[in-house]
């Protein structure tokens, strides 16, 4: 419960910072919205935008009104087309999840076994090779991985479409083919991170006394590896996976850009060009909420997996 409270406080801080950022930034946000100084906006236009954003009221009043609306899930409407920001986000969130969830699954499903593999072959050729590959994996920016995947799999081999989105319900096969490259690009760095963490944590646990005891009492190597070493080694891995999922929501911004994937971050990028402030605010708020929520869930899971640290 304490953790949940803390998370809520953090979210309140984020929301507050987002709210005040519009007022702290130099210049009149209405002018920004109307296209900057160059646009020569008339006083009436400015007044209209002010009224629209509620900027004509005193700051504390605006703040309270805004917070009240946000807690109800009302994020305002787009300045461009009057559409509800919350509804747009709700429409697009599943598409971002369609990238993040499989990418997480892939990172864990490949990262953990590879990490164990490298750890168990410590000092032989496979280990430094795998470790170096992993380091290279998370040294490559997600957009470089994405571009290279497009270059190889779409342009050279012509196996998969380079960009675009097909709805899962309309064309499941096409959906999967469009999904493959973005998911691979998104999963590359987390995969490398999970692998490295698994490896080092496995090695750490394998050197513990209880592992020696387990071996000494004659347990099969398989039992020692699975039940004694891996189970303990996975603890730090769970927390790193949580962190990775959180940052994947943000990393998806580049992936969605490259692959023209219509998720929440693509919405953000469109809004940036037009300075559609409510939309930008909404996406950053949602992104931060997901980030905080994922970290909270990770913390709680950590307590579940590791009875030594239970949160009250």
């Amino acid at each position: 419960m304490r953790r949940l409270g803390l998370a809520l406080v953090l979210l309140w801080v984020v929301a507050t910072v987002l709210f005040f950022s519009i007022h702290l930034l130099p210049g009149d946000p209405a002018l920004l919205i109307l296209g900057g100084d160059a646009a020569q906006a008339s006083p009436e236009q400015i007044a209209r935008v002010h009224a629209r954003l509620g900027l004509d009221r005193p700051l504390p009043v605006q703040y309270v009104a805004w917070l009240r609306r946000v807690t109800k899930g009302d994020l305002g409407t787009s300045l461009l087309d009057d559409r509800s920001v919350a509804r747009d986000l709700a429409n697009r969130l599943p598409r971002t999840l369609q990238l993040v969830v499989p990418a997480t699954a892939l990172a864990v499903a490949l990262g953990v076994p590879l990490g164990v593999f490298a750890a168990r072959r410590r000092g032989r050729v496979a280990d430094p090779t795998a470790s170096t590959l992993a380091l290279a994996g998370f040294s490559m920016p997600v957009f470089v991985v994405g571009m290279l995947l497009v270059l190889v799999f779409s342009l050279r081999l012509r196996w998969l479409p380079p960009t675009g989105y097909v709805s899962l319900t309309e064309d499941p096969g096409g959906f999967l083919r469009h999904l493959a490259l973005p998911v691979l690009a998104l999963a590359a760095a987390p995969l490398a991170t999970v692998m490295r963490m698994t490896r080092s944590s496995y090695l750490e646990e394998a050197a513990r006394d209880f592992v020696r005891t387990a071996r000494a009492k004659g347990l099969a190597e398989r039992v020692v590896a699975w039940r004694h070493v891996l189970r303990n080694a996975l603890l730090p891995v769970t927390s790193i996976v949580g962190l990775q999922v959180g940052s994947m929501f943000a990393g998806a911004v580049l992936v969605e850009y490259i692959f023209s994937w219509p998720g929440i971050n693509a919405l953000l990028l469109n809004a940036l060009g037009t300075r559609d402030y409510p939309v930008i605010q909404g996406v950053v708020l949602l992104g931060s909420t997901l980030f905080v929520a994922v970290n909270l869930v990770t913390d709680l899971c950590y307590g579940l997996v590791n009875p030594r640290i239970r949160h009250g």
């Binding site: 380091l135 957009f143 497009v150 270059l151 580049l254 996406v283 931060s288």
Partner: protein
């Protein structure tokens, strides 16, 4: 392994790697240059990168922004060692000049983060009480913004420029340094030599700056190297989205984005900057990893 340095070289350890499961207690002394292969490899690479960036105007024979319609998207030739891009600009020149942006942003933002973080972290750990709570909670607050989102948000509203990029990335990495310095200072502030400095009547500033700081340089350095790698990733990501220093300034992220549109025509202009970013980040990551093994035995994992 051909040459041993000094008289303290250990008896032949074969290829046994450091911190192996058999090592108990004190690690055996080894010549410094052999202790970390990563530093051995990455150190000179980082040095070369810095030199290349510093000497870019001398090394690059062609103007990085000169358009040449007659030499569009050429493969490598003697005149253009790495070829030209879709506007006929010399890729080698652009890469070299781009390295300056990357390294300046990477290193300065980390310097901002490390400097401020050291100040805040040591202040928090030394003052304790409400000051500590305020500083550390503020850092928690900063941490709940996903880095690249916050970067996009701030740069859009402050306008894309080198200075804003450095400030944003610096602030993004501030919590890390504050936490590292805070934790390290807490760990040693009650040790006897710190106490003796205090007993001798040294002021708080003097104790922190003169006694504590020199003893926690190692973790700060390790963080700095790793954070530089991350900072470069963020910088190139923002440049990729067009939020870096405005054109025509060459930056690696933007080069990837622009040449990506023409990759059907020619892949080389895409591959060079991609490789440049990846290798630079890799070098800083390796350096950080190696420095961690080398400088901070407490953090030593089975690497």
């Amino acid at each position: 392994m051909a040459r041993m340095v000094g008289g303290d070289a250990p008896p032949d350890l074969g290829d046994a790697r450091q911190g192996g499961s058999g090592t108990v207690g004190q690690p055996r002394p080894r010549p410094v240059w052999r202790r970390s292969r990563q530093v051995l490899v990455a150190g000179p690479v980082v040095g070369l990168l810095l030199a290349a960036a510093a000497l870019a105007p001398v090394l690059a024979r062609a103007d990085p922004n000169a358009l040449n319609p007659r030499a569009k998207a050429q493969p490598p030739t003697l005149a253009h060692l790495l070829g030209t891009d879709e506007f006929g600009r010399d890729l080698l020149s652009r890469l070299l000049h781009g390295s300056r942006i990357t390294l300046v942003v990477g290193l300065s933002s980390v310097a901002v983060a490390a400097g401020l973080g050291t100040l805040l972290g040591s202040a928090a750990a030394y003052a304790r009480g409400p000051v500590e709570t305020a500083i550390m909670r503020a850092m928690d607050g900063l941490l709940c913004f996903p880095p690249i989102l916050l970067g996009i948000f701030v740069v859009t509203f402050l306008g894309p420029s080198l200075r804003n990029l450095i400030l944003v990335i610096g602030v993004l990495y501030l919590p890390r340094f504050t936490r590292v310095v805070h934790a390290s200072t807490l760990a040693i502030r009650e040790l006897e030599y710190v106490e003796s400095a205090r007993a001798l009547g040294a002021s708080a500033v003097r104790v922190v700056g003169g006694t504590i700081l020199p003893n926690i340089v190692a973790p700060i350095l390790v963080q700095a190297s790793l954070a530089t790698g991350h900072a470069i990733l963020i910088e190139s990501g923002l440049s990729f989205l067009g939020l870096g220093p405005p054109p025509p300034t060459p930056s690696w992220g933007r080069m990837v984005e622009q040449s990506g549109r023409f990759m059907q025509l020619s892949a080389l202009p895409l591959l060079w900057p991609s490789a440049a970013i990846s290798f630079t980040v890799l070098a800083f990551n390796l350096l950080g990893d190696g420095l961690r093994d080398l400088l901070d035995p407490r953090l030593r994992r089975g690497t």
